[in-house]
Symmetry: C2
Subunit: 240 residues, 2 copies
Amino acid sequence: MRKDIHTDGIPVLCVSCEARHRGVCGALEPEQLVSLAKSSHKQKAQSGTELLGDAERIDTYANVLSGVVKLTKTLSDGRQQIVGLQFAPDFLGRPFKTESDLNAEAATDVSLCAFPKAAVERMMQASPELERRLYRQALDELDEARDWMVTLGRKTAAEKIASFLLMIARNIDPTADPDRDSAAFDLPLTRADIADFLGLTIETVSRQLTRLRADKVISIENNRHIVVPSLSRLEARAGN
Amino acid sequence: MRKDIHTDGIPVLCVSCEARHRGVCGALEPEQLVSLAKSSHKQKAQSGTELLGDAERIDTYANVLSGVVKLTKTLSDGRQQIVGLQFAPDFLGRPFKTESDLNAEAATDVSLCAFPKAAVERMMQASPELERRLYRQALDELDEARDWMVTLGRKTAAEKIASFLLMIARNIDPTADPDRDSAAFDLPLTRADIADFLGLTIETVSRQLTRLRADKVISIENNRHIVVPSLSRLEARAGN
DNA sequence: GGGCCGCGTTGACCTCGATCAAACGGCATG
DNA sequence: CATGCCGTTTGATCGAGGTCAACGCGGCCC
């Protein structure tokens, strides 16, 4: 499934795009890939780095190769809301707009494959297949955003936490068997980030996590590592 | 601005698409329009009609010609959340998926211009310009969804109501001067719908509306007609 | 007319999650 | 080793918004 295409030793679009029908590889002919590759550069950013500021000009697109990127919006008085999480191999960018209205920040250490905006847009003109791929991702992100609207608007704190853990379990390791009933993973977000994602406070997040632990639905090691013995038992608490 | 193209007397894609860079007209050559027109049919639905059920097969797309369509998601215990509102001239449909995971319902009396899914998808293959138009709308809807996530997750009930009224004022009449400071309109939603949109209860919606009225920020006639003497004063309460 | 229904408002009360405050553990630094 | 910082947990209290209940108003049907 993995398509590591190399040009002059540079790995290009080098993620398993097929996993969730995302990313841009697979949409291009080899010679197009090589052409795009020459304008790309690999990029590392450690946790907390701002990748794109609000009201900043967008001049690059990027493929997330590893790690998690959080998209946030902030009200004038500082209240913050995470409006999206991008996992590998998601594509980071906003076509048809030159200015961003949100912040992109590395939630964990992140590696990216960045392209000049112009190169991607030229390639999009040339390859309807690429444009379609990006269109699909936009629609998938829209579906996800709408699912989260339900969580934000109508679920209790306990249900929000359960839903969040399920979402992470599903996204953090796209190669895992989708039919498995147990999972173990490191949380890519701090309690503060989780709170900003779910529209809660850190205290409530902490309390609900300890409650899930007390009820033996999860176990927690080192504050970050989560073990879920039964995903279905967790799902029963997500309120869907 | 208005492009009413008629074929055999049938008005086709007959809305002013340019208004908000939405809809599909303007993206097609006249002969393509005519071809699509032949497969289309105008459709009226009165308030409350379900246009598309959850888990139903999607076999038509439609352009909203007038009225408002609400997109909802429902949890198993009946809690409901509105995840999108479609105004004229928005396009209603979900490419690349055969099954819906949400409900579409006429919030007001609605008129639609419906197309068979297959016809639109054939046209999309033929016209990259049309696909791009739809891609743009998907990105716009994604931006809107993310804005609402902030509202749902981080704003108070009072701020939610103010934000909602502003959104309606901006969308209900796309021809209005964007720089005006006053507005008057009929609410396209019942109190229950507004509650489902904002993640509140009808009682809270009612209380916050009467509070805005008491503070002379709005006036209300017949429960539905809203007059906003100063949009900027309303905006000051939206908490952005 | 009277009764009913759908929609909206208002009041009294309660609960969930926010707020305020304190303390803990890990880790880096002097 | 003490010190401080950061992320997290836990406890005590408060309040915004939910819940429950009553009532008002207009339209519709008998």
